[in-house]
Symmetry: C2
Subunit: 192 residues, 2 copies
Amino acid sequence: MAKSELTTLEYALLGLVSTGPMSGYDVHKVFATTPLAHFSSSPGAIYPALRRLERRGLLQAALDRTTETRPRRVFSLTPDGEAALDIWLRQSVTREELVSTTGASILRFSLMGGRLSDTEVVAYLQGWRAELEAYVAELRARWTTTEAQAQMPLHAKLALENGLQGFEGEVRWIDDAIEQLRRRGRKAQARR
Amino acid sequence: MAKSELTTLEYALLGLVSTGPMSGYDVHKVFATTPLAHFSSSPGAIYPALRRLERRGLLQAALDRTTETRPRRVFSLTPDGEAALDIWLRQSVTREELVSTTGASILRFSLMGGRLSDTEVVAYLQGWRAELEAYVAELRARWTTTEAQAQMPLHAKLALENGLQGFEGEVRWIDDAIEQLRRRGRKAQARR
DNA sequence: CGATACATGTAACCGGTTACATGATTTT
DNA sequence: AAAATCATGTAACCGGTTACATGTATCG
């Protein structure tokens, strides 16, 4: 297993490949045409990252010579790769992640489908929610007191409000997501 | 002037120093205790960045020996630095920025106070808004058609919705910000 | 006085960006 | 056959992270 601290990009690659074997170019195409673009980027990032993951034994490449003369390297997850992905998917959202690590939380959520139970997913969302609310409360307490407001220029006030509204929007989204997951759960229950 | 393509961190530093001369540690403290944390980071990023800006002639350091034996390097903007900052502040929000460059748009907005006229600021916000709406429309057209929805797993759907709601929240914030800027404008008018 | 916090850095490592290289396949 | 596009990379550069180094003020 080793110390599995990977880049967000690398986790995104693991997650994408987990949905089915893919060549580097396939991956590149998905990143270029979906909101995954958020994480990467150019072949110059993707190919080396795939190599790294292969070297660490998290991905394996199968040479596909069937149709073409130039072999395509088709990647799939190794058992270690599956394990590393699952461990990462089970990490809860931290304060640090709220503030800095761009989009890791939502990336993890979007890759959980099918790999984690709905119970786990809901727990993840609730943990995320709690972290968000704590952070918002702290920011509000710290920066939206009347004294702080008085000496804060309008632009700073508005920028802060921008951040706060964003976080509160996330909270609402989480509530909605939990609701939808539950609804699906009940439907599945009913079909039995 | 040269080709002024700076890091987001470097622009954040320029902007912060533009509010008044500061030592590296002062800067560090602000980054550590405000939502600016989003951009940096550790002394290991800040000090080298300040040096770079100094080397490029955008910042100048004054040695302050008055109170202490160890001199503090107090940074302030050079005319070139002011110019570089102003140019950057006048850049409008691009699609690429919406998707990737984390927080550059809001950073720019928050630094505009006092440096740009309210008219310019409002124009900036309107440009941002237009870019957001165009992007949201495109995403919706592309991904929320009934066929696309049908074959999209629930998690993917929810993650997409997360992004869309975030963007729509930004739009609402922009409308509110414009309104508040206008209100202030009218008040200032009345006081004359 | 010793320990802790203040204050300013430096150096190694590593990943992402940019730009280029190369060959194969398809289009004009 | 030439041009464009598909597909897979490589190499240089550069900035951020982590961890360490060092010295100064402050507090018990």
